[in-house]
């Protein structure tokens, strides 16, 4: 058996619910073991705020809904050798993409002009512009591995990471299904 090498991992959430990251944390005690095999070099769970030049594995949760999301997805593609779409929002747009059935203006108006008591207005200062169409990650950048599920189970995430640590290409189809 080959000795597994330490790999670097980056994660972030785009337009999702954080649930896929929570499922990552549901690895529980296995996180301690994992911390011996991987370095989380960039993630909402850690403070290092810059994506390193080269990262072995990037995990993206959520869909692409705003210009910020787009910029982050592109940066992950540039910096990560292997890019993973984690969860249904990333894989197929899931719930965030439900707004595609409506005009963006109508969606914004409902929240910021109609369901409001005071100062109806659309926020624009210090917030990213929204894209008219929400897309899955591979709608904008190439993705190497798809891990569906809402969220994918902790076991599925564990399996995928371990295969990568061992230098194999994981086949998540046996451990995942859409919506589960």
């Amino acid at each position: 058996m080959s000795t597994p090498t330490r790999i670097t991992v980056a994660t972030t959430w785009l337009d999702g619910c954080s649930g896929c990251h929570m499922s990552f944390l549901d690895m529980d005690e296995r996180l301690i073991e994992l911390a011996r095999k991987i370095d989380i070099v960039y993630s909402p769970l850690v403070d290092s705020k810059e994506l390193p030049e080269t990262v072995d594995v990037g995990l993206l949760e959520g869909s692409i809904s705003s210009v910020d999301d787009l910029e982050k997805a592109r940066a992950f593609r540039r910096h990560c050798k292997i890019l993973i779409s984690l969860g249904d929002c990333a894989v197929n747009g899931n719930v965030p993409a439900m707004r595609n059935y409506f005009k963006l203006d109508d969606v914004m108006d409902r929240s910021y002009r109609e369901n409001v008591t005071l100062q109806p207005q659309i926020p624009t200062r210090g917030v990213p512009a929204l894209l008219t169409t929400v897309k899955p990650i591979h709608g904008e950048v190439a993705v190497d591995i798809f891990v569906p599920g809402c969220p994918p189970s902790a076991d599925a995430i564990w399996y995928v990471l371990n295969e990568l640590i061992e230098g194999r290409v994981p086949d998540p189809s046996s451990v995942t299904r859409f919506g589960a």
Binding site: E29, D47, T117, R125, L130
Partner: protein
């Protein structure tokens, strides 16, 4: 020379945010803003969906507290059905909610905030995270992981999944509890309570060391909003709305949740995708209030479980009199609530009626409008729906727990920035304190509609003409 500091992304919080600090000529803070940078649009895109889809759909606002949305949404649906759910169904829902409070509070305390509390605000940002805590204090990290796991396991036992379970349905819950499941859950609780008490005792020894933080981390004279029981005690699932003012006087009490629109208004500012709820009778922004663990404990006369009541009495002694004003003490309140949640789950599970087979009331929709309110880990959560004759959604309003704290979070970063940020001598640790006050609130910006930056933290000092005169990078 006026300058702007941008902190992005705010890390170790749930969701996407950016903080901007406006500095004046002398390097003093002139303005501080907390920007939520994600927008979801649930209030619109749920239109046309059958109301029975709403619980599963709106749970996807948040993977940290999906159970809160599941419950508030189902309560709004109960209202649409015009049914009273069977007592056992209600108790089972309560257990799931308490399990979620346990796991969510554990996440906030151990995974997100303990790195600041244990390793220090100024410690190396590279290891200032839960993995750093694993190295420095493995026992505490293990406790945190285990406590969260216990909460998540109970949710899974009841609902089949740890995240986005479905088992709660309009009218009650899907199926009765089996003896095996009950015993499996009961077996976890003593260990959980032991961890919770141990952590609480440990945290009490830390509190005196954080006098300075308690003074400057969002110590605000605001009102407090939460649900309470009809007796005025701690409540997370049902109950009535209470508002206390900064002096501890009750300004609203026993308000039926369906009347929320009389007391709560929502304003919009152009700098955030998160709205600004306020206490309507006092106007905006004067009607500022806080929600969540701090508000709940300030509003409650008692918890109603033995150990939590002792802890509640100690909580009230953090200050000489009046409601506890410092947002730093959200951490304390969270630990008290974990103890309460574990004690309460044990009580509910040990009651033999929990195995009763009547857990669901069945009906069609009998009203055109439904409102459901519950206490999420982060505060009062409101779901409000209207449906047509076919049971399809025509209108939705959601007031998310974190949103209520928006005004207070903005004022708190201002206060911390005033106390710690020296524009003429910027240090990374100063800015971590600004982020840390946000962590006290444990905002769930996934709920409030989130976004997470992947930009490095870059602080640029610009002069009035926009020329960069100094910069600091972290990462």
């Amino acid at each position: 020379m006026s300058r702007t500091i941008t902190i992005e992304p705010v890390t170790r919080i749930e969701g996407h945010a950016r903080i901007t600090l406006q500095l004046g000529d002398g390097g003093e803070v002139e303005d501080a803003r907390f920007h939520l940078t994600q927008f979801r649009g649930f209030e619109k895109f749920c239109e046309g969906r059958p109301y029975r889809e709403m619980p599963a759909l709106t749970a996807r606002t948040c993977g940290i507290c999906p159970v809160s949305h599941l419950l508030a949404s189902n309560k709004a649906c109960d209202h649409l059905l015009s049914v009273t759910i069977p007592p056992t169904g209600e108790h089972l829902r309560r257990i799931m909610n308490l399990a979620q409070i346990t796991q969510s509070h554990a996440l906030s305390f151990f995974h997100l905030s303990s790195p600041d509390l244990l390793l220090g605000w100024d410690s190396d940002p590279i290891s200032r995270n839960i993995f750093g805590v694993m190295r420095q204090d493995p026992a505490l990290a293990r406790d945190g992981i285990r406590l969260r796991q216990i909460g998540q396991s109970i949710i899974e036992t009841l609902g089949g999944k740890k995240i986005h379970p479905t088992w709660v349905v309009p009218g009650g819950v899907n199926e009765p509890l089996t003896l095996e499941k009950r015993d499996a859950m009961l077996k976890l609780l003593p260990e959980g309570l032991e961890i919770a008490k141990r952590t609480y005792d440990f945290f009490k020894t830390l509190v005196p060391k954080f006098k300075d933080e308690a003074t400057h981390f969002g110590r605000l004279p605001t009102m407090f909003l939460s649900l309470v029981t009809p007796q005025g005690n701690l409540e997370h699932y049902d109950g009535l709305l209470r508002i206390k003012d900064a002096k501890g006087r009750i300004v609203e009490d026993m308000v039926p949740p369906e009347d929320y629109e009389r007391v709560i208004g929502e304003a919009v500012e152009d700098f955030s995708y998160m709205k600004f709820p306020y206490y309507k009778p006092q106007g905006y922004p004067k009607g500022i209030y806080r929600v969540g663990p701090l508000a709940r404990l300030n509003n409650a006369q008692a918890c109603g479980t033995p150990y939590a009541d002792v802890a509640l009495a100690e909580f009230h002694m953090l200050q000489e009199s009046g409601p506890i004003a410092s947002s730093f003490h959200y951490h304390y309140a969270r630990l008290v609530e974990i103890i309460y949640a574990l004690e309460m789950m044990e009580r509910l599970l040990k009651d033999p009626t929990i195995l009763d087979s009547r857990v669901r009331a069945r009906a069609r929709s009998n009203r055109a409008e439904g409102i459901g309110v519950s206490e999420a880990p982060r505060g009062t959560l409101i779901h409000h729906y209207r449906i047509d004759d076919d049971g399809l959604i025509t209108w939705v309003n959601l007031i998310i727990a974190t949103g209520h704290n928006n005004l207070a979070m903005n004022q708190s970063i201002r206060q911390v920035a005033d106390a710690y940020v020296d524009g003429n001598n910027l240090q990374e640790g100063m800015l971590n304190r600004v982020e840390a006050v946000i962590r006290c609130f444990d905002p769930c910006l996934s709920c409030a509609s989130h976004a997470f930056g992947q930009m490095p933290l870059r602080i640029e000092l610009k002069d009035a003409s926009g020329r960069v005169v100094d910069s600091l990078e972290r990462g």
